[in-house]
């Protein structure tokens, strides 16, 4: 009974912690610009993150090796270093965007200067990490993120044409560059590399072994799968409200407008609260992912469970990454713009993260009976092919569309 409860709580936390600022921005913009036409891209991304999170969690549980350890082991020092530099740069942009996101929500709730809240947010995160155990951090932000189920309630309140919504789940052939840019953006926002870096390192932080493989599978498939419902709901509410009147969401605050329209101030507060927990959790995940990667690559002692005394370089690097995130967020660049760049550039680095995971998870000499079966192998390679195509298309599409500006 205790185990079932623990698994259920983990799944709930994964659902609530599914969205980050990249998902919030790209799904809302996708709905506003293309109504329900990109729902299929959300589903494609959610299945992809489920497949790869399951693999990376399984590798971590069976071998005790997190993703970046695997990258260096499988790809060697040179390619590993390229992956480290690329993923660190993207993680730093993500940390900055998430910190900026927290500051925007606090500004909307308390109406004080944005710059003050960036620093406040960083200090709050340091205190939370210092005072709470690893599982507690994950769960607080995961459960808080569940407030965003107000988006699902808004869908039913709006009662859209369900035939049109269903049609959106069928991939459509629109060859415009802007449409393709948003396919890349929506897909990439769901598969941000920091998510698997954090997921696999978190598995080791929590001491997962082969005994936890069922929990891993349920977290990755059910947690991310049901979490994906939130992303789908965001596209629908945005497509329903923003598309017909020509709103182009350029601010994080705009994401909450459909919920205000449906449920007034209560809907607005639930949405802003949910966004706050989601971006707060993602700020911790992405900053930890940056430190995990560096420590694992350089062979340092790492892990929140070790504490600052046993893992001083890991802890110091986390604080430095957070400080860099604060500096970037304070630079005056709109966090939504930082998000767009971090998401699109992350696509380019995706193959470097996902190929080693796929190779190791399928390696019977390394994983023995826990290596990928036929379905995981098929899905893994299928997604890897999609990732490579999108990685090649991402930067040209970013330039052609002027960063999604048309």
């Amino acid at each position: 009974m205790k185990t079932i409860l623990k698994i259920a709580l983990g799944i709930i936390a994964a659902i609530g912690g599914f969205l980050d600022i990249g998902d919030l921005v790209f799904t809302t913009q996708a709905g506003a610009l293309f109504r329900y036409d990109l729902l299929w891209a959300v589903v494609l991304g959610v299945l992809g993150i489920g497949v790869y999170a399951e693999m990376s969690g399984r590798v971590a549980a069976v071998s005790g090796r997190p993703v970046f350890d695997v990258i260096r082991m499988r790809m060697g020092f040179g390619i590993g270093l390229v992956a480290l530099v690329a993923s660190t740069a993207i993680n730093l942009l993500t940390v900055a965007a998430e910190l900026g996101g927290i500051a925007i929500v606090l500004e909307l709730l308390l109406d004080a200067p944005y710059s003050m809240f960036v620093v406040t947010a960083a200090i709050a995160l340091v205190l939370i990490v210092a005072l709470l155990p690893f599982g507690g951090i994950e769960r607080i932000f995961g459960y808080g993120g569940l407030l965003l189920f107000v988006v699902v309630a808004t869908v039913f309140h709006q009662n859209p044409d369900w035939g049109d919504v269903a049609h959106g789940f069928v991939p459509s052939l629109d060859s415009s560059a802007l449409y393709l840019y948003f396919v890349v953006g929506v897909f990439a926002a769901t598969l941000m590399p920091y998510e698997v870096h954090f997921y696999s390192s978190g598995a080791i932080e929590e001491g997962w072994t082969e005994q936890n493989l069922k929990e891993n599978r349920l977290n990755a498939i059910l947690g991310y799968g049901i979490g994906g419902i939130l992303a789908v709901a965001l596209v629908i509410v945005s497509g329903y409200l923003f598309h017909p009147i020509g709103v182009e969401p350029s601010d994080l605050g705009t994401v909450a407008l459909p919920m205000q329209g449906a449920f007034g101030e209560t809907g607005l507060l639930l949405a802003l609260g949910g966004i706050l927990f989601c971006v707060g959790g993602a700020a911790i995940d992405s900053s930890f992912a940056a430190s995990y990667n560096l420590a694992q690559f350089l062979g340092w002692e790492w892990g929140r469970y070790q504490g600052p005394r046993k893992a001083p370089r890991f802890t110091a690097s986390w604080l430095v990454f957070l400080a860099i995130g604060v500096a970037v967020a304070q630079s005056g660049i709109n966090p939504v713009e930082i998000t767009e760049y971090s998401v699109v550039f992350s696509v380019v680095a995706l193959p470097l993260t996902y190929l080693p995971v796929l190779l190791i998870a399928g390696d019977r000499s390394f994983m023995s009976d826990f290596a990928n079966g036929r379905i995981a192998t098929f899905l893994g390679w299928l997604y890897f092919a999609v990732i490579v195509v999108l990685a090649l298309a991402a930067v040209p599409l970013l330039l052609i569309t002027n960063g999604g500006g048309g």
Partner: protein, 152 residues
């Protein structure tokens, strides 16, 4: 490769890089018809977003801090768009009238949002701002129609 060829390749690469930077830098060069069109479309989108915020105020269905901060952000964006449109040199001089009209609409949207920022808890103001933003959006849409040749 000889030293001279290396220098030539390097200077060609620098030239290409400079050209690429010039082409991709925002604010450089003349404002094309398409860019003017996109600028006015952005104004229409800002007015639409502003209407939703004002509607929350009019219905007493929002939080004043949210309405104020959103109005401030959207107002700043409208102002920025107005400055961009006013400062740019047009590629096609026959769209000068549309550019002037767009700058005026941007100013109008910015003023209305500024009013909402001042009175985020006043339902009557919310209602008026919503109505006027709707009119501003119609004006922006009319300019877009003229620029794309769809106007009657």
């Amino acid at each position: 490769m000889s030293g001279t060829s290396r220098k030539r390749v390097r200077s060609q690469a620098l030239g290409l890089l400079a050209a690429a930077l010039l082409l991709t830098s925002p604010g450089c060069g003349d404002l094309s018809n398409d860019e003017l069109n996109r600028g006015v479309e952005s104004l229409s989108a800002l007015a639409a977003q502003g209407q939703l915020v004002a509607n929350g105020v009019a219905r007493d269905a929002t939080k004043t801090t949210y309405a104020r901060a959103m109005a401030r952000t959207l107002g700043e964006e409208a102002e920025h768009e107005a400055e961009k449109l006013a400062d740019a040199t047009l590629e096609e001089s026959e769209t000068e009238d549309q550019r002037h009209a767009a700058v005026a609409v941007a100013g109008e949207i910015s003023d209305l949002l500024s009013e909402l920022q001042t009175f985020p808890g006043d339902e009557r103001h919310g209602e008026l701002v919503e109505k006027h933003l709707e009119e501003a959006q119609e004006k922006a849409d009319a300019i877009v129609a003229q620029l794309s040749g769809d106007a009657p």
